[in-house]
């Protein structure tokens, strides 16, 4: 791990490079080799030990100098492979090029042509598996993490732009009413696109706050709630109506929305459903939580603020988190911030196979999270009061590659050992949400309960569209947004044909 550098140091280093290369004026004269030689700009962050004791955002965002230097690393490839890596095909060379010239407003406008929520995506997209994976610079350096830091540039532009009024050109009212089920990234994206096109949009949210997974799941230290709220405020300013405490499938059904409440179309984006457990002994002991529950208590319900919040959170000393995705990292790092003395990530494969964003894994390691890799829990052990005291685990090794090309983890016989802990958090994904599909028999679903849609995002019910996790299974914010985009176009075509 590299030594910690303060934001001021990083800014001075960037300034030195900028002056040395005479950026941005000198950019045109730089050859590809010279651009590739510019070191990647490190994300300024809170120091690891300090941040492990607060809930504030870890990554602080680039400075002006850093953005110009980082954007100058772009090789401006003719075929733009980065765009192919982006689920919503943002014109990446376009906005990076504008940023390199210091034309930040223009750069943001380019992003907003394709993505409604850049401040969120810049923070939570797994760039190294998307745009940065296909970036030529990263290929040259044989490491996608060394690609142009596209997400960091995106975040800078979005944060800078959010303090300004964004002008929205709205079409004349069409008189068509659209209901959106769920206010997560997918629903918000669809709402924005449809409101712009002049439709009358109402979002129905079961919780008391809008944002879906971005407010109940993703912690403050990774995505501040104020950023999500800003997007919600923008939508309200565009005339989108938010109805809270309203659960489609229970309070009203899809059929009632369409046939009785006068909606011309519905977009179902109600998100992931029931958390998965491992089906091992002891899973219903006191002290075993789904990451959904643990994170919702800590984030949305503000249990981190013990003095003020009415919602309790379990007092943990030693925590084991099962899983290797972003949610596992979020849960582990939240547990640490809530006062746990020791937090383990227990994962069956190795770090290379972890689905989490690389940056989150690094942040977790820096903060002192212990990684027990090639390890899988087999049993949770409790005391006479039904409270967790330990877990039994089995060691694994990587065997032959399976069909997917990943080496298959195999249990090592006789390698059982116990780990004393008082809390287990399972971060193993979610199965599909049954509330809408269970009350809408007309919807065709897969055997896993996910809604089936056509290429326009429309379900088997005319006028009813769906997207995000209820269609994809557990996916990412950007894929949910991509679905939202597709559905908005589909709904608009459906309503105006």
């Amino acid at each position: 791990m590299t030594a910690y550098k303060t934001p001021q140091t990083l800014d001075l280093e960037a300034l030195a490079i900028k002056e040395n290369l005479n950026l941005p004026e000198g950019l045109a004269n730089l050859k590809a080799k010279e651009r590739a030689a510019i070191p990647q700009q490190e994300m300024p962050s809170q120091e690891a030990m300090a941040r492990a004791c607060n809930m504030e955002e870890v990554a602080l965002g680039y400075t002006d100098n850093q953005v110009i230097v980082e954007a100058s690393r772009c090789l401006e490839c003719k075929n733009a492979p980065c765009v192919k890596g982006c689920p919503v095909s943002i014109d990446i060379p376009g906005f990076v090029g504008a940023a390199a010239k210091g034309n930040f407003d223009e750069a943001l406008e380019i992003i907003k042509d394709s993505s409604m929520l850049p401040a969120i995506c810049g923070r939570v997209c797994p760039q190294e598996k998307q745009c940065m994976e296909t970036c030529t610079l990263g290929k040259m350096k044989k490491d996608p993490m060394q690609s142009v830091a596209i997400g960091r540039i995106e975040r800078y532009l979005a944060d800078r732009g959010s303090s300004k009024e964004s002008k929205v050109d709205k079409a004349l009212p069409t008189g068509k009413k659209v209901a959106i089920v769920g206010s997560g990234p997918s629903g918000l994206t669809t709402a924005a696109d449809l409101a712009r096109l002049g439709h009358d949009v109402t979002i129905f949210e079961a919780f008391h706050k809008a944002g879906g997974v971005t407010v109940y799941g993703i912690p403050e230290f990774r995505l501040p709630k104020s950023i999500v709220q800003q997007e919600v405020d923008n939508l309200e300013a565009m005339g989108v109506k938010f109805v809270y405490d309203y659960l489609i499938g229970r309070t009203r059904t899809i059929e009632q929305l369409m046939n009785e409440d006068g909606f011309d179309s519905v977009y179902v984006a109600n998100g992931a459903g029931l958390p998965k457990f491992m089906n091992i002994e002891g899973e219903n002991l006191v002290g075993v939580f789904s990451a959904n529950e643990f994170l919702t208590r800590a984030n949305l319900m503000k249990a981190y603020d013990r003095g003020n919040a009415a919602t309790p959170i379990y007092q943990s000393k030693k925590v084991a988190v099962f899983g290797g995705g972003n949610v596992a990292m979020d849960a582990a790092r939240t547990a640490l911030r809530m006062g746990a003395e020791e937090v383990h990530i227990v994962y069956r494969r190795t770090e290379a196979e972890m689905p989490a964003r690389v940056e989150e894994v690094h942040h977790a390691q820096e903060e002192g999270i212990i990684f027990d890799l090639l390890t899988n829990p087999t049993k949770i052990i409790g005391d006479e009061n039904g409270r967790v005291t330990a877990i039994e685990c089995l060691k694994y090794q990587l065997g032959e590659p399976d069909e997917s090309g990943r080496r298959r983890p195999e249990a090592i016989e006789g390698s059982e050992f116990t780990m004393e802990i008082d809390t287990c958090i399972t971060a193993l994904g979610n199965s599909s949400n049954p509330l809408v599909t269970g009350t809408t028999p007309e919807l065709n679903i897969t055997k896993w309960g996910n809604i089936i849609v056509n290429e326009d995002g429309m379900t088997s019910m005319p006028g009813v569209f769906a997207g995000g996790d209820i269609v994809q299974g557990a996916a990412t914010v950007i894929l949910a947004m991509g679905d939202g985009r597709t559905a908005a176009k589909g709904i608009h075509d459906y309503l105006t044909k």
């Binding site: 008391h208 309070t251 939580f289 959904n292 919702t296 007092q315």
Partner: protein, 285 residues
Amino acid sequence: MNKIVRKKQLSSDVFLMEIDAPHIAKSRKAGQFVILMLDDDYGERIPLTIADGDAEKGTITIIFQAVGGTTLQLSTLEEGGSISHVLGPLGTPTHIKKQDAPVICVGGGIGVAPLHPIIQANKEAGNKVITIMGARTEDLLIMEEEVRALSDEVIICTDDGSRGRKALVTEPLKEFCEAEEKPAEVVAIGPPIMMKFCAATTEPYKVPTVVSLNTIMVDGTGMCGGCRVTVGDETKFVCVDGPEFDGHLVDWNSMMSRMSSYKEHEADHRCRMSEKAKELSTQGA
């Protein structure tokens, strides 16, 4: 915002509130519940059963015991005031069908509140309903009049004998199971320990017994899994699969220990709440 249109104190710490909730009033069915929250930022989400409702008026009735931080705070709200958030109706409605033998409804303490719509629905289905109501003492019996108006027969038990039979509800329940006309079904709602023993009472007689669980939950929509219980060999979510389950299959010990997950926090919170209440009352005086 949901306006409180009527408030009534039923006993020393049990309150009834009729609240404005037109959509819930319209769609709710027997066996369902709501989740409410009092403060936008720092409030807690708590599940409460629906005791009654009026679709035309657009109101639902909740009955609660002021025992935790949030229910204590709720009990201080008055008619004309409002509750920030009410979500519902949640849970799977009670499965009601025409039965050839009597249905025995057992309600313990404020468990009579969620039982009320189930008695109503059974009567609507044309069933003979015998209700057993139990409480520690006479003062804690609620909704007797409503229950009497609907039931074919009502048996009252108190632990101290201050009213009706001096017995636990399981005593008359056992007698009904032994009777010639075996009950078609038993519905038992009350404290976990009462439901556990009702299930244990009916099991030898193989009388189907439905219980309604009120476990800890956060969202109430199936997302958090905090409410899960072991039923048979399976893990079930009270908020979406329940709240009603086969009482003979519920792992009661596991469920009761899960319900005590936050007892340390609750004790502390209650402490702070009563201090706050004291503070407010001295200010008022």
